[in-house]
Each structure stands twice: as C-alpha cells, then as structure tokens.
C-alpha cells in the first residue's frame, strides 16, 4: 500500500524542478524587495526607529491601527456570524440571494466599493438627505473623511472574509450533534451555546485572523475615506513615500507594520487556519 501510494509521488528531482519557478518568483518579487526594505530601514543605524519610538504621534498611529483592526475584526465577526449561520439554514432562492449578497461585494473592486461609500456619505449624499428628511438632524453632517467612515468602509470590505470561513465550518458540522443534544433535552439556545458555537470556533478563528491581518495593512479604503485626523499605518507609509519622500522612515514604518502583522499571525496561528480561511473565501 505504501509502495502504491509512493509510486504516484514525484521523485525529489522532479519536485524540485517543479517548484523552481515559484521559488524564483518569490525571491525576485517578494523576499528580495522586502529584505531590501528592511535593510533600508536600518540604513542610518536605526535612527528611523528611534524617531518612531520617540514620537508619541507616530506611536499613537501604530496603536490606532491595531485598535482599529481589532475593532473592525470584532465587528465583522459579530455581524458575520448570524449571516453565516443563516446561510447554513436557508434553502432555495433565499439562500441564493444571501450568497449573492456575500459574493458580489467580494468580487467587486475595493476601489468601487470605497467610491460608493464616498457617494453615500458625502455632504449632499443620500445618508445626509435621509437623516434630514426624517428630521433627525437639521444641517448636513460631516460623515466623509472621518474615522467612522474608514471603519465603516473597512467592515464592509472585510465582512465576506469573516462570513465565509465561519460558513464553511458550520456547514461541515454534522446536524447529528444538535439532534443528539436535543434528544438529551437541551434547549435550542443551550445547543447553540454548548454545541454549535464551540464547534464552529475554528472558522471564527480563521475568519478573525484573516480580517485582522487584512485590516492592519489596509491602504485604499483609509486613503480614500479617511481624513487627516484618521491616519493609519498604511496611510502614514503612503504619505511618507509619496508626499514627504522620506524613504528610510517609510521603510522603518513598513518594517514595524510587517513585524506586527507577522507577530499576530504567529501568536494566533493554529495549524492551517489561515490557509483554510483563504480557501473557503475562494
């Protein structure tokens, strides 16, 4: 049996030849540039890092970025779980509709979605019009270019990344567990809290990690929806490189963002949970 299984395996040399293009692409387009960036960040003997650490403004942005990412992740999980749960229960047309509502945004460019938020939230946009029409406010509110707009946009973009891993875990749960618990006299709420929820945690975990990591490095949405008061790490890096042209400092900021991201992945890594999360999104 072992022999049979091995026979269809590719021998070492073939396997190495097969991965060679991947390794070459990764070195040229990923490892070398990122290495170069980290090297640049130390170019003036760590001066950039000292500047970063010594400046409460920049440290505040780093803290803001992590807090915003955590908040967005939590919001996505809280909003996404019921949707994923409902998706496993629905059949027919309504299931198709909900699936479309989840997948269509996923395959719509982030730019288009950010643009839609700009139109919705602008001074004479429909949100302001609606609020005025029902007399909640009397003058247009400043909704766009605020931290709230950034958070809203990020939640909207990342929600499918939370829903899909949870959905795929929930769907793979056998309904027998719930039935067994019901047979033993558990109420639906008790079944959910003690059976379904714990069993779906790997999906929640994968979705949460995915959202968190993506939220940390988000550039497009904060750059378009945020104002000067709502700077995040990614927008700060963008500003340093395109406006101030301070490359060593931008490199230091990038390295810190990279380190924070990797740290979070390492802390929360649970086998292939990230891989699984991405897989269910695809």
């Amino acid at each position: 049996m072992t022999h049979a299984a091995n026979a269809s395996h590719y021998p070492l040399l073939t396997a190495l030849l097969l991965v060679l293009p991947l390794v070459a692409a990764l070195i040229l387009g990923f490892l070398y540039p990122v290495g170069k960036l980290v090297e640049l960040s130390f170019s003036s003997g760590g001066e950039s890092y000292l500047r970063l650490i010594g400046d409460p403004f920049h440290l505040g942005i780093l803290a803001d970025t992590v807090l915003t990412a955590a908040f967005v992740t939590l919001a996505c999980l809280i909003l996404g779980y019921p949707v994923a749960y409902a998706m496993t229960r629905m059949r027919g047309v309504s299931a198709g509709l909900v699936a479309a509502c989840v997948f269509v945004p996923l395959w719509t460019s982030i730019l288009v979605r950010s643009y839609a938020w700009i139109l919705l939230l602008q001074r004479n946009g429909p949100v302001n019009d609606l609020l005025q029409a029902i007399n909640i406010i009397h003058g247009p509110l400043k909704l766009l270019y605020t931290h709230g707009a950034v958070v809203l946009g990020m939640i909207h973009v990342l929600l499918p990344f939370a829903i899909l891993p949870i959905f795929s875990t929930l769907r793979s749960l056998s309904p027998d567990y719930g039935r067994a618990a019901a047979n033993l006299g558990a109420s639906p709420l008790r079944i959910f809290v003690h059976v379904t929820l714990p069993l779906s945690l790997p999906g929640v975990f994968a979705g949460g990690l995915l959202c968190f990591v993506l939220a940390l490095g988000f550039y497009i949405t904060p750059a378009l929806l945020g104002g000067p008061g709502s700077m995040l790490m990614a927008t700060l890096i963008g500003q340093q490189t395109t406006v101030l042209l301070d490359w060593p400092f931008a490199a230091a900021l990038s390295s810190v963002l990279l380190a924070v991201t990797l740290l979070i992945v390492i802390i929360f890594r649970k086998g292939l949970s990230l891989n699984k999360g991405f897989h269910s999104v695809r």
Binding site: A4, A5, A7, S8, H9, Y10, P11, L12, T14, A15, L18, V19, P21, L22, V23, A25, L26, G29, F30, P33, V34, K36, L37, L79, C101, V102, F103, V104, P105, W107, S109, I110, L111, V112, S114, Y115, A116, I118, L119, L120, P126, L216, G217, Y219, I220, A223, G238, T241, A251, S254, L257, L258, T261, L262, V265, L274, N275, F278, H279, R282
Partner: protein, 244 residues
C-alpha cells in the same frame, strides 16, 4: 447588514433626478487615458493569469505529490504574499524596481502580480489534487505512460476545474489590485485600478462611475463564466469516472 454594492445606486447618485444618460460611458470609452489604463491592465491580468497558473500548478503538484524537504516552509512562504500588507510589498517593490526602471512596465507588474496571484492558484489546485484519487495516476503509470503523459492525460483533466478557477482568481486579483499598483505605476504605465484611485482622490468625475460599472460587470461575467466552466468540467469528469 451588508449594503449590496449595486450599480443602480451608483448611477442614481450620479444622475440627480433629471434622468439617465450614457454620456459617462461614452466619455469613458473615448478617453485615451482610461483606454490606455484599461488595455494595460488587461494585458497585465492575462499575462499574470497565465504565469501564476503555470507556476502555481507546478508548485502545487510538487508540494502535494512530491518527495521534497521543507514542504511546510515552502507552503507557508508561497502563502506569505497574502499575509504581508500590500502597502509594505508596494513600497518594497518600488524600491527595487525604480533603479531598474521596471516601474510602469509590463515586466514589473507581471512579477509583482504573479507573486500576489500564485497563492490563489496553489490553494485551488492543491484542493483539487487532494480530492483526486492518486490511484488514477498510478493506473496511468502502470499502463506505460511516462510522467508527462500521465500528467497531461490523467492528472490535468481531473484537476482542470481547480486550475481553471485558479486562473480566473489570478486574473481578477491582478485586475483589481490597487495598492501595489499604486506604487509601481508611473506616468507612462498605470493600471486601471491606479487610474481609478487617482481620479477618486483628485477629480471626482462621474466617469469613474462608468469605469466602475464596466469593471464590475466584467468581473462578475468572468466569475459566472468560470463557474460554468468548472461545473461543466466537474460533471464531465464525474460522468467519465462513472463510465469507467
């Protein structure tokens, strides 16, 4: 819940109550800047899709079926471009590309987008390989096929849906990619995503709505198309197996 990003909302907002017009679409298709960005993006996306699919399928075969050391490391490394913040990769690539004059070129974009798209192909192809029975390959080899024949006549048809959906995801990930494109574009060569970003940021014109609608419709059509292909392919392999 989710606010579905509907086309009608965009258009409705664009044209205050006094009616609909196709002027913005005409403006979009007549603007040489938009058309240059669109065709550049299409070229990049096609090339990326081909490269990422070939590289990714080869690597997935080696990782899933090969006798190789450092498999775990390689797998983690191949997925790393998904995890690393795109802004960091964008800045890093600009740093390396700029002295080589690769910014704004097809080569530069191709390299960057291939690295970003390969994980999608590896994930979909690995999943197909896992679902496929290795005994089929063994049977092919036993019947006297060499490895290449075995791959093209047995393995590839069986994993075709995975390869096809990987290719589509690679195409879309490249076409939609904006953050890295933001850094490696230049005046001579920019992708449609970069052009859209610029226009949203600096001169908010209704042409963006038309451009958005066109890209959204194109993406969704492509996804629908891929879905049909993979369904047709999977039903074909299923009936094929049943006939055997």
């Amino acid at each position: 819940m989710i606010i579905p990003m509907s086309l009608s909302a965009t258009n409705h907002l664009q044209f205050p109550p006094n009616g609909l017009t196709l002027d913005w679409y005409i403006a979009f298709f007549n603007d040489p800047d938009w058309m240059a960005a669109t065709s550049f993006s299409l070229k990049i996306a096609c090339a990326t899709s081909v490269c990422a699919t070939i590289i990714g399928t080869m690597a997935a075969l080696a990782i899933e079926r090969g006798e190789m050391p450092f498999k775990g490391l390689l797998n983690a490394l191949s997925l790393a471009p998904l995890i690393v913040p795109h802004i960091v990769l964008g800045v890093a690539l600009y740093l390396v590309f700029s002295p080589l004059r690769l910014t704004g070129t097809l080569t530069g974009f191709l390299l960057a987008h291939t690295v970003l798209a390969v994980p999608f192909v590896i994930i979909t192809v690995t999943a197909s390989l896992k679902r496929m029975d290795p005994a089929l390959e063994l049977a092919g080899l036993n019947c006297g096929a060499n490895r290449a024949q075995c791959f093209f006549h047995v393995t590839l048809p069986a994993i075709a849906p995975g390869v096809a959906s990987g290719a589509v995801f690679a195409f879309l990930s490249s076409f939609d990619e904006a953050t890295v494109a933001f850094f490696i574009s230049d005046i001579g060569g920019k992708s449609i995503a970069r052009k859209m970003f610029e226009d949203i940021d600096f001169n908010l014109t209704p042409v963006i709505a038309a451009a958005s609608s066109v890209t959204v419709i194109a993406s969704l059509m492509l996804i629908g198309f891929a879905h049909l292909i993979s369904q047709a392919a999977s039903s074909r392999t299923q009936t094929g197996v049943e006939q055997e």
